[in-house]
C-alpha cells in the first residue's frame, strides 16, 4: 500500500468521523438532530395513534380497522353523540371552561396590575400567594378545596360551582404571570405621560393601560380555557356525581374498563377544542401585538405554561 493511499484513507476517516460536538458552534450536530426528532416522534405519535383509533371502523383501540366517523356520531348507542354520558361530559367540560375563563381573567388582570404597582406593606407575601398555586402539587390544592367545601363551605358543597371555583383559583396565577410579563414590556412611560397630561388614574387604566394589555388579555382568556378543559385532579375532587363528570374524568374512569373508540373520539374532540382555542389565542395575540419587537408570539405563548402538570 502506497503512503499516498494511506494518507487519503486517513483523511477520509477524518472527514467521515461523526462529530459529537456539543461545544463546537460551527459543525452540524447530527446526534442532537436525530435525538430531538426521535423525541418529538415519541412524544406525539402515541397521541396521533389514539386520534387515529377514534376513526376506526371496528371496536378495537389497539389495531387499525378501516375508517369511519361512527364513534363520533354514527352509532346510536356508543358514539359520543349517541351516548348521553359522553355527551354530558363534553358539555360539562366546555361549560366549566367558559365560566373559569370569564371569572379568572378579569380577577387575574386586576391582581396583576395591583401587584405590579403596589409597594406597601404586605406586597411581598401577596406576591408569594399569587404565584404559589403555580407550584403547589394539584393533589394538595384539590384536597384543600375538597375539605373546604365539605366542612366550612358545605353550603356551597361539591358540584359545578365548586369545580368552577377550583378552576378559577389555579388558573388565575397563570393570568397574573402573563399580564405582568406584558406590563413589564409596556413600561411606565406611556402611563406617566397620560397622567402628566392630566388624566385621572382610572382613565389612565381604562384608556391607556387596558388597550395596551389587549394581547395579554386575549392570551389569558384562551389559556384559562385550555387549562380548565385539560384539568383532571381538581375536577375529580370537587365533583358531586355523574352530571359533574368532565371529559378527563370520563376517560380516566373508562380507560381500563373495556373502552370503545368512542372514548378516543371524545378525547379527540376535547383536544380539537383546546387547539382551536390556542390557535385563536395565537392569531389574536399576533394581531394585537403586530409591529412590536421582541420574541416571537409562539415563544411568548409557549413560555406561559410553566406551571405544574395539568
Amino acid at each position: 500500500m502506497s503512503t499516498a493511499s494511506v494518507e487519503k484513507a486517513a483523511e477520509l476517516r477524518q472527514s467521515k468521523r461523526p462529530r459529537f460536538s456539543l461545544g463546537n458552534p460551527w459543525s452540524k450536530p447530527r446526534f442532537l438532530v436525530g435525538f430531538t426528532w426521535i423525541y418529538v416522534l415519541w412524544s406525539l405519535l402515541p397521541v396521533l395513534l389514539a386520534i387515529r383509533f377514534a376513526f376506526n371502523e371496528g371496536r378495537s383501540r389497539t389495531a387499525l380497522q378501516g375508517w369511519s366517523t361512527k364513534w363520533f356520531f354514527g352509532d346510536s348507542n356508543f358514539s359520543v353523540f349517541g351516548d348521553p354520558t359522553l355527551q354530558d361530559a363534553l358539555t360539562h367540560s366546555l361549560v366549566l371552561a367558559g365560566i373559569a375563563m370569564l371569572i379568572a381573567t378579569p380577577l387575574g388582570i386586576m391582581l396583576a396590575i395591583g401587584l405590579q404597582r403596589w409597594r406597601g406593606r404586605g406586597s411581598g407575601p401577596a406576591n408569594v400567594v399569587a404565584l404559589l398555586p403555580l407550584v403547589t402539587p394539584e393533589l394538595v390544592f384539590a384536597v384543600g378545596l375538597f375539605l373546604l367545601f365539605t366542612t366550612v363551605l358545605a353550603s356551597i358543597g361539591l358540584g359545578t360551582t365548586a369545580q368552577a371555583i377550583g378552576h378559577v383559583t389555579f388558573s388565575m396565577s397563570f393570568v397574573v404571570v402573563i399580564v405582568r410579563g406584558r406590563l413589564v414590556t409596556i413600561g411606565p412611560d406611556v402611563e406617566e405621560a397620560a397622567a402628566d397630561l392630566g388624566a385621572p388614574p382610572l382613565a389612565v387604566i381604562w384608556r391607556v393601560l387596558l388597550p395596551l394589555l389587549a394581547p395579554a388579555i386575549a392570551a389569558s382568556l384562551l389559556i384559562v380555557f385550555a387549562l380548565s378543559i385539560d384539568d383532571f385532579v381538581v375536577s375529580q375532587y370537587l365533583a358531586s356525581g355523574s352530571d359533574t363528570t368532565t371529559v378527563p374524568m370520563r376517560i380516566y374512569a373508562q380507560a381500563r374498563a373495556a373502552p370503545t373508540p368512542a372514548l378516543n373520539a371524545l378525547a379527540t374532540l376535547m383536544l380539537a377544542f383546546t387547539l382551536i382555542a390556542l390557535g385563536l389565542a395565537y392569531v389574536v395575540f399576533r394581531f394585537l401585538s403586530r409591529g412590536e419587537k421582541g420574541g416571537s408570539a409562539i415563544e411568548q405563548i409557549a413560555s406561559i405554561d410553566s406551571g405544574g402538570g395539568r
Binding site: L107, T150, D230, V233
Partner: protein
C-alpha cells in the same frame, strides 16, 4: 404617585379570592388533620389551634417513618421520582440544547412541537399509552419485536410481558413521558440565554468541545437544570392518576395514591389530611426555591 393606595384596591378581589380558596383551603387541611371525626366518620375540623388534636398527625408520622405501614410507599415514591426526573433530564437536555442553539431555521417548528404536549390533556396522553401497551397493542408488539421486553425481564425490571399489569417500570416511564415537556422548557430558557460568544471564546482558547461543554455550558445552564428538576418533581409527588392508569396495582402505588385513598375513599380523612400536610412540608422548600428562580427571571426582564 399620589394614588398609591389605589393599586391595593386593584389587587383586592383577586387577593381575597386566593385567600379564601387557597390559603383558607389549606388551613382546612390543617384543621381536619388536627381535628377529629364524628360517629359517622365525617371529619370535624378544629379551627382553633388551641383545640388541636395531634393523634392523627402522630399516626401519620409513624406510618411514613421506617417500620411504618406507609414507609414502603414513601421509599417507592422516592425511587420512582428519582428515576423519572433523572431520565427526564437525560432526555430533556439534548432536546433543549438542540432546540435553543442549533435548530436554525427549524427553530419555530421545533419549539411548537416541543410545546404541543403541554396542551394535550395529561389524561389523554396516558390513555394513548394504555391503547398502545395493551397486550395486543402496537407498543407492546414493537417492544416485543425489538426484544426489549425480554431484555428487561432478564434483568428483573419487567415481570412477564404485560406492561400494564402492575409494572414499576411502566409507571416510571409514564411519568417521564408525562412530565418531560415541563423539564424541557426551563432548560430551553436557560440554554437560550447563554451568549454564543462565551462558547466561542472557550473554543478559541483551546478548549476541546467536551471540556467547553463541561466547564462552560453545563455550569451556565445549572439554574435551568435545577428549576427543571424541581418543576417536574413537584407534580410527580402529588401524582396518583398515572399509577392508576398504567398499573392500578398496590405494588406500584405512590404517596399520592395513599393520600387519595384516605381522602376520597375511606373514613380516615383526617389521616389523609395529616399526610397532605407532611407532603406539603417536604415540598415547600422546593416550591419556594422554584418561585424564587421564577421571580428572579421576571426581575431580569424588568431590568
Amino acid at each position: 404617585m399620589t394614588n398609591r393606595r389605589i393599586w391595593g384596591f386593584f389587587a383586592a378581589p383577586g387577593m381575597g379570592w386566593l385567600l379564601v380558596f387557597f390559603v383558607v383551603a389549606f388551613y382546612a387541611v390543617v384543621s381536619v388533620g388536627f381535628g377529629n371525626v364524628n360517629t359517622l366518620y365525617q371529619p370535624i375540623p378544629y379551627w382553633n389551634p388551641l383545640d388541636w388534636n395531634f393523634g392523627y398527625m402522630i399516626e401519620a408520622i409513624q406510618s411514613v417513618l421506617p417500620g411504618g405501614q406507609t414507609w414502603p410507599v414513601v421509599v417507592r415514591t422516592a425511587i420512582y421520582i428519582g428515576a423519572a426526573i433523572t431520565l427526564s433530564l437525560l432526555i430533556g437536555y439534548p432536546v433543549a440544547y438542540y432546540a435553543s442553539r442549533h435548530a436554525g431555521r427549524w427553530r419555530g417548528l421545533v419549539v411548537v412541537l416541543l410545546i404541543l404536549p403541554f396542551w394535550i390533556s395529561y389524561i389523554m396522553r396516558m390513555y394513548a399509552w394504555t391503547n398502545l401497551l395493551a397486550p395486543d397493542g402496537y407498543g407492546s408488539k414493537l417492544l416485543s419485536a425489538l426484544s426489549i421486553d425480554s431484555l428487561l425481564s432478564s434483568v428483573g425490571l419487567l415481570d412477564g410481558t404485560d406492561w400494564l399489569g402492575g409494572q414499576g417500570i411502566t409507571v416510571i416511564l409514564a411519568l417521564v413521558y408525562g412530565y418531560v415537556p415541563f423539564m424541557i422548557l426551563p432548560l430551553f430558557a436557560s440554554l437560550d440565554r447563554i451568549d454564543q460568544r462565551v462558547i466561542e471564546a472557550a473554543r478559541d482558547l483551546g478548549a476541546p468541545p467536551e471540556s467547553a461543554f463541561r466547564r462552560v455550558i453545563l455550569p451556565l445552564s445549572k439554574p435551568g437544570i435545577l428549576a427543571g428538576l424541581v418543576l417536574v418533581a413537584l407534580p410527580m409527588a402529588g401524582d396518583y392518576y398515572t399509577q392508576t392508569l398504567m398499573s392500578a396495582s398496590p405494588a406500584t402505588s405512590m404517596i399520592g395514591n395513599t393520600i387519595n385513598d384516605y381522602i376520597q375513599g375511606g373514613p380516615e380523612k383526617p389521616l389523609g389530611a395529616a399526610m397532605t400536610m407532611l407532603l406539603s412540608a417536604v415540598l415547600l422548600m422546593f416550591m419556594l426555591y422554584y418561585l424564587r428562580t421564577l421571580r428572579r427571571e421576571q426581575g431580569e426582564v424588568a431590568a
